[in-house]
């Protein structure tokens, strides 16, 4: 019933996270109704993705050579924040509270899934640390057993004089209600409590 060309497009849309068959159909038909111009604009936008690569320095998305963050004059080039995915960099940038550099691992360790240290961007991390400019390494892997193990592994590999290794604090979300926080989060918040005065 649906022409094969449209069906092929629907199948591609349906592969996106959070998009089911129905939404994929709506997107495809909407594009069809928008005429040749809209389809062309989309085609060009998709084609331009081939210019995007990973920054050889940090592993974030870049268009040519190094990414915008690495090539910017960042305020604090002594802080290096390690994350799992490029999307995490965007999340930290949105906080506007971090002015250091990033390093994207490309995932977390999971021997069960065959993700061993050589599958992550660790060699380039060690090389950056070897240059000696970094004084604080902030490990911001995902708050999970796998993320924690990845941080522990890295911490064990990079211990060196003059390098302060830290990790993210954990607690209850801002604006959240305590009664709706899950037990694990509350427990971590309790364990990580701090004095009201001072730090």
């Amino acid at each position: 019933m649906i022409p094969a060309a449209v069906e092929a497009l629907i199948a591609q849309f349906a592969r996106f996270p959070g998009v089911g068959r129905r939404s994929a159909e709506r997107m495809a038909f909407d594009l069809l109704a928008g005429g040749a111009d809209r389809a062309d604009t989309l085609r060009l936008a998709v084609e331009r993705l081939s210019d995007v690569s990973l920054c050889p320095e940090c592993g974030f998305f870049a268009e040519q050579g190094r990414c915008l963050i690495c090539s910017q004059g960042r305020q604090d080039r002594h802080q290096l924040l390690v994350v799992e995915r490029p999307m995490d960099v965007i999340a930290f940038e949105k906080t506007a509270g971090f002015r250091g550099l990033y390093h994207v691992l490309g995932g977390h360790l999971s021997p069960l899934k065959g993700i061993t240290p050589d599958k992550l961007r660790l060699i380039s991390l060690y090389a950056r640390l070897d240059r000696g400019d970094i004084t604080e390494l902030i490990l911001a892997t995902s708050p999970s057993v796998e993320g924690d193990a990845t941080s522990l592994y890295i911490a064990g590999q990079v211990e060196r004089e003059g390098l302060n290794i830290t990790r993210l604090g954990r607690g209850v979300p801002m604006g959240g209600s305590l009664e709706f926080s899950d037990a694990g989060t509350l427990r971590l918040a309790l364990e990580g409590r701090r004095g009201l005065h001072g730090s």
Binding site: A149, Y153, G156, Q157, R187
Partner: protein
């Protein structure tokens, strides 16, 4: 409808910390294409609900559906697909069950759907992300014909009781157990891969972190469970038997871990010794291709008259102890949550002698205790126990 004023205080319990308790239990239970039952909608009574029928008519299916709603799994099988009703070669695409129940003064709705590709649960209309979120919402205790395995069977049988109890009363303990299990699987993968020591260090540190939080909680739970079980054995045997229920931590006696745990060491004091113990066990674990020690190998140690009950208990002693374990589980659930759990009894009262069944029936007759019982013959039960609602189960249909 019961109001808070109508409920009476249960002996030995305070009101639930979340407020005055009201009539507790399942009010309505529905099944669709669930194993032997094509369709059933049952209004349950607050006390004893008796399901009577010949074998293979669907009595146990009703209890099994409640087990799915309370724990996300069957007490009979780990193969969820068996729950899909079938006629000849035709298998239903989905088996579902739902229950409306009251706990801590609020009415809730839990729903389960099982398909060949997986299972989904909803609580008050909201889909749950993990089965773990279901645990503790509707606490149950099962009494099954093969409960003797609790005494005679492999450690896994007792660990299941222990894990189920922890999962229903201690969300922090459950989270620690799940995280520990996740890290353990990764270490076992490292063992198969002959990975580097640095990788072992990282995963063992995670295992130690979570085991150090799990073990003290399990220890305290077993101490409380043990006290309950010991009392029930006293009553059931009229003081003839003495039992001791203690924590087997899953480490050999020569290891420092068991003493640390039983002496009540805190998580912070356990983490380092645990990490060291796994580090030292690495070579031998690699030879055996799995992690030989840890909470995943933990057990309830059962001694009767100072001898290992697994090996030395007579048939009668084993029955007494198995029943006492379930009664202890029940009592502890009530103590901790402040409300009695729903009891599922699959054809068990007929098996008990007079002394054991009297004790049991006293408990089932108590105000506020809801139970679902199955039997092939109603008469002996009705003679001893006030039955609040009686259902006949034939050919997969349930009638009051």
């Amino acid at each position: 409808m019961a109001s808070p004023g109508q409920s009476r205080q249960l002996p030995g319990t305070g009101p639930g910390i979340l407020g005055e308790s009201t009539a507790v239990g399942i009010e309505r239970l529905g099944l669709r294409d669930f194993r032997l039952v094509r369709t059933a909608d049952v209004d349950l009574a607050p006390g004893a609900n008796l399901f009577v029928g010949e074998n293979a008519q669907g009595k146990t299916t009703v209890l099994e559906a409640v087990s799915y709603l309370a724990r996300g799994r069957s007490f009979r099988t780990a193969r969820d697909r068996e729950c899909l009703a079938s006629a000849g070669d035709e298998v239903a695409p989905v088996a579902s069950a739902e229950a409306r129940f009251q706990r801590h003064g609020s009415r809730r709705l839990v729903r389960a759907a099982i398909t060949p590709s997986g299972k989904t649960f909803w609580l008050d209309g909201k889909a749950l992300k993990t089965v773990g979120e279901l645990w503790g919402v509707l606490p149950i205790v099962t009494f099954l014909p093969d409960d003797l395995e609790l005494v005679r069977g492999a450690p896994a049988e007792r660990r299941l009781l222990l894990d189920a109890l922890l999962a229903q009363v201690d969300p922090t303990g459950l989270a620690a157990m799940q995280s520990f299990n996740a890290a353990l699987k990764q270490r076992n993968a490292l063992i198969r891969d002959r990975a580097s020591a640095a990788q072992f260090d990282a995963w063992e540190a995670q295992m130690a972190h979570w085991a150090a939080r799990l073990l003290p909680r399990r220890q305290r739970l077993i101490e409380r469970l043990g006290a309950c079980v010991e009392q029930h054995v006293q009553v059931l045997s009229r003081g003839a038997e003495r039992v001791a229920v203690t924590h087997d931590t899953g480490w050999p006696a020569a290891s420092p871990i068991p003493a640390l745990v039983t002496d009540g060491a805190k998580a912070s004091a356990l983490e380092e010794p645990l990490a060291r113990a796994w580090r030292e066990a690495r070579d031998a674990d690699q030879d055996r291709l799995f992690t030989r020690h840890g909470p995943h190998r933990g057990d309830l140690s059962l001694r009767i008259n100072n001898r290992d009950a697994r090996v030395y208990a007579s048939q009668g002693q084993a029955r007494t102890l198995a029943l006492a374990l379930r009664l202890g589980e029940r009592e502890l659930l009530e103590q901790i949550t402040g409300e009695p759990p729903v009891l599922l009894l699959d054809d068990v009262l007929g098996e008990l002698d007079r002394q054991r069944s009297e004790h049991f029936i006293r408990l089932l007759s108590r105000d506020g205790v809801q139970s679902l019982l199955t039997a092939t013959d109603a008469a002996p039960l009705e003679a001893e126990l006030p039955i609040a609602a009686r259902f006949t189960v034939t050919g997969g249909t349930v009638r009051r």
